[in-house]
């Protein structure tokens, strides 16, 4: 049996190898997993698809993490951080899957760089190589906007992941299987808050309605991701929540976002700057 005072002592003791300084410092999230692309599956298309889903999760995880020390109450701060952590975990698995399927997408770094492929993709890609939808990159807004976005996003992602459990790629199928269990909790959390805010005080209701107006122009972009049925299923669930909350879908024009083509908003540049700045300064950093 190991005799550690706490989780940190075991990390220090485990090995003497210096680690890449800015990543999660975990091992390869797919260590030991057979990442051979199955016959009949287009490796480049698979990598691109995994990258899209990874970027959605990674960018929203970053936005959710911004709430740490800013949330309305401690329990909610922990909840938002936990949801972000789940999404970050999904992002790592999907980035690693994308990198294994098509190594050409992984940014090249100087010889001897200790950065693993999933971190290279997260920290060393430029904005136009990110394929996330605009919905996840918009500034976090107030708490109501965060919950409105999370409701739409998690409803859609859950529907998508449910379908991907039978993907022709067993790695993607396994990632989806895990993700379904997690995102189910995210959706429920967001749905409860949207109803609570809409049925709360006059002020909370006003802010919930304003939040939906803010978020909605970026919702139609989700329909462009295969399979489009996931979008219909998400809207069915969102309507159910809206009905419970006494809300209606806003009637606002689509922002016509093209995040899947690598075209992003100004706020995304700020987000990437904060997320990538330190790692890019020290691509060989070890600790």
């Amino acid at each position: 049996m190991t005799e550690h005072e706490n989780a940190y002592t075991s990390l220090i003791e485990a090995d003497d190898d210096a680690r890449w300084a800015f990543g999660t410092s975990f091992d390869d999230p797919l260590a030991g997993v057979d990442t051979t692309v199955p016959r009949g599956v287009d490796a480049e298309a698979l990598a691109r698809y995994c990258l899209m889903l990874a970027d959605d999760a990674l960018v929203l995880a970053q936005r959710l993490a911004e709430w740490t020390t800013h949330a309305p109450e401690l329990e909610e701060e922990v909840a938002l951080a936990n949801i972000g952590l789940d999404l970050l975990g999904q992002a790592r698995l999907l980035l690693a899957r994308a990198a294994a399927a098509d190594p050409a997408i992984v940014p090249a770094l100087p010889e001897g760089s200790p950065v693993p492929p999933d971190d290279r993709l997260a920290y060393f890609r430029d904005a136009d190589a990110f394929l996330n939808v605009h919905l996840v990159e918009q500034r976090r807004g107030d708490f109501a906007a965060t919950m409105a976005r999370l409701l739409v996003f998690s409803s859609w992602r859950l529907a998508l992941l449910e379908g991907l459990r039978s993907s022709a790629d067993p790695v993607l199928a396994a990632v989806a299987e895990k993700g379904v269990k997690e995102v189910r909790y995210h959706r429920e959390h967001a749905a409860r808050w949207c109803i609570t805010l809409a049925q709360g005080t006059d002020v909370s209701r006003e802010r919930m309605i304003a939040a939906l107006d803010t978020v909605w122009p970026d919702v139609p972009e989700l329909r462009g991701t295969d399979p489009a049925e996931a979008f219909d299923e998400a809207m069915r669930v969102v309507d159910q929540v809206m009905q419970g909350a006494g809300l209606v879908r806003p009637d606002v024009p689509s922002a016509m976002g093209r995040g899947r083509d690598g075209i992003h908003t100004e706020s995304f540049a700020e987000l990437l700057g904060e997320m990538q700045g330190l790692a890019r300064e020290h691509p060989k950093g070890r600790w």
Binding site: H4, L30, N82, L85, P170, H189, Q240
Partner: protein
């Protein structure tokens, strides 16, 4: 020399140290392949940071027991579920004031009704209230007992 399987089975979870990895249900396989011990673990949640510590602890335990060559592999399928926590693990959680998960019914339909309250691990009352669906680690939620005033963690059904 202790069997490699027994060495690994005794390693404990870094965040729930009353549970061994076997009790938690994340230990999927231990094989000795040409003098190398190959251990297969599965993560609880996709982003659970404890997995890195578990891997490290497994390697340290094997090394101390005389197994110098060892590697830890990950498997994602079948996905971990709270149903994989052993009966012994559930008893250990309750004894340490953490409410164990109930059997998983697993529907993914959205249910906005209050969830069935877990029983208080101190006084067994079911008059408990959820404080937060997301607790101190990815796998736990936070509750309080109206009967005895205890605030406790519950390992979520997933």
């Amino acid at each position: 020399m202790m069997q490699a399987r027994d060495v690994v089975a005794r390693v404990v979870d870094p965040e729930l140290p009353m549970l061994t990895l076997e009790d938690l249900g994340v230990l999927r396989d231990v094989e000795v392949d040409d003098e190398t011990v190959v251990v297969t673990l599965t993560p609880t949640y996709s982003g659970c940071p404890a997995l890195a510590t578990m891997r490290a602890d497994v390697l340290v335990a094997l090394s101390r027991a005389g197994y110098e060559r060892a590697e830890v592999r990950t498997t994602l399928s079948p996905a971990w579920s709270s149903d994989w926590i052993s009966d012994r693990g559930r008893t250990a959680l309750a004894e340490h004031g953490i409410s164990p998960p109930r059997p998983n019914d697993g529907p993914t339909d959205l249910v906005l009704m209050p969830s069935r309250p877990p029983a208080c691990p101190q006084c067994a009352s079911t008059d408990t209230r959820e404080l937060s669906r997301f607790g101190s680690t990815a796998c736990r939620s936070l509750h309080t007992c109206r009967a005895c005033g205890e605030t406790f963690d519950h390992v979520k059904e997933i």
